[in-house]
């Protein structure tokens, strides 16, 4: 059975999106399962965005920001890190595999690391199988 995961990713404008751009301009190949949403900062990732992504059928959610100490806005990535830990705890309580949510630091020069990350995260989600969240929510509403 061919399961192609749908992955929503939130990339910060200054490091991670530029890193993804570098992967593109360098013509690196990586899994096409990712849908990128560019934000000004990983600190802009409201937990609501992540929960909505799952509700609307994302099999995985990936957040990328600048490396610690490198945030364009000084501490946005730290706020993101703390929210990420809360979200992990919360989705685990609701019976969602915590591996479906992932945070990684990608700098503007890390095009190669970005391509590898997308491949490995896509594989992780492929092994987990399709997310049941959308179906469960639709069954009950």
């Amino acid at each position: 059975m061919n399961f192609e995961p749908t992955i929503i990713s939130f990339l910060c404008n200054w490091c991670s999106y530029t890193g993804a751009d570098l992967a593109g301009t360098a013509r690196m190949k990586y899994a096409p399962n990712i849908r990128i949403i560019r934000l000004m900062c990983s600190g802009r990732v409201d937990p609501t965005f992540v929960l909505e992504s799952f509700k609307k059928g994302a099999d995985g959610v990936l957040i990328c920001g600048c490396h610690p100490g490198d945030c364009h806005y000084h501490e946005g990535n730290y706020k993101c890190l703390r929210r990420y830990h809360f979200l992990k705890k919360y989705i685990t309580q609701l019976g969602i595999e915590p591996e479906r949510l992932h945070l990684e630091w990608i700098s503007a020069s890390e095009g190669k690391q970005f391509a590898e990350l997308i491949n490995s995260f896509t594989e992780t989600i492929r092994e987990l199988g399709p997310s049941k969240i959308k179906n469960v929510i639709e069954t009950y509403t």
Binding site: T48, E75, H85, L94, I137
Partner: protein, 326 residues
Amino acid sequence: MSEEENKPKLKLAVYWGAACGGCCVSVLDVHEKLFDVVANADLVFWPIALDIKYADVEAMPDGYIDLTLFNGAIRNSENKHMAKLLRQKTKVLVAYGSCSYMGGIPGLANLNTKEDIFERIYNETESTINPENIRPQERYEVDEGVLTLPEFYNDVRTLSQTVDVDYYLPGCPPQTERLLEVFTAIVTGLGLPPKGSVIGAAEKSQCDECTRKKTENKLIKKFYRPWEIVDDGETCFLEQGVICMGPATRCGCGNRCIMGNAPCRGCYGPAPDVIDPGAKMMSAVATMIDANDANEIEKIMEDIIDPAGYFYRYSLPASILRRKMR
């Protein structure tokens, strides 16, 4: 008789779904103002106070009742049947109280399944003795006839997830003063907002009204449960490390809990335009944690054992993910 006396009285109903009864008591708490209410309205259905049967409601023409205050969540088939019936018979249906508005405390049952709940109640609790594993039956035949019980659902829903709702009046229970304001607005027909609005509450967050001392830079190194710390009575609860739902909760209750030296628990629901109060609260609390290292953050968060129960105490069925996936 004067024209005023000829004016037909409003027909008012109050009903409870999956509720504790506190909302009905909050209506009784109008005390002597009840005389003003009955001067303007006839109470046609109110199980806590009046002996009017479901069959009497079924016999009413559609749209007969002017205002129904429906409190409690929808947890079983009886709640659902009555919600549909009252919707049909009522002109203005108000989701009264947090359970009806957002699922409330009964909504936390969505962290389990029906089977989990029955197993706990009818087998596991320390005081249960049930060697024959007897469970409630929806239908049971006895010599005298058939006994029935409502169907217990796997999932708790809000009133608006079940029927069309005109207004929402939050609170656990709603402040009686707010109810009187709303009632006056309905009697006079003045000052009612558009359908679907939250009424009897304000537009800002609890923190906007809170009089405790606050600084801009809240830094939390350790979370405490309220009983683990001596509250100084004047500093913001969050700055003392006690989780207070104020930042993500609509004001209008008059900061009742905070005035009583207890942190806000979020019963008034999210501020306007917020979809998921728990997500907003997680977001806010995360910014306050005074650590940048992943291990240290995890250690600090260990003190929050049950984020789902804490941040979604009143709002789980109305939230984005709304229940345990299984």
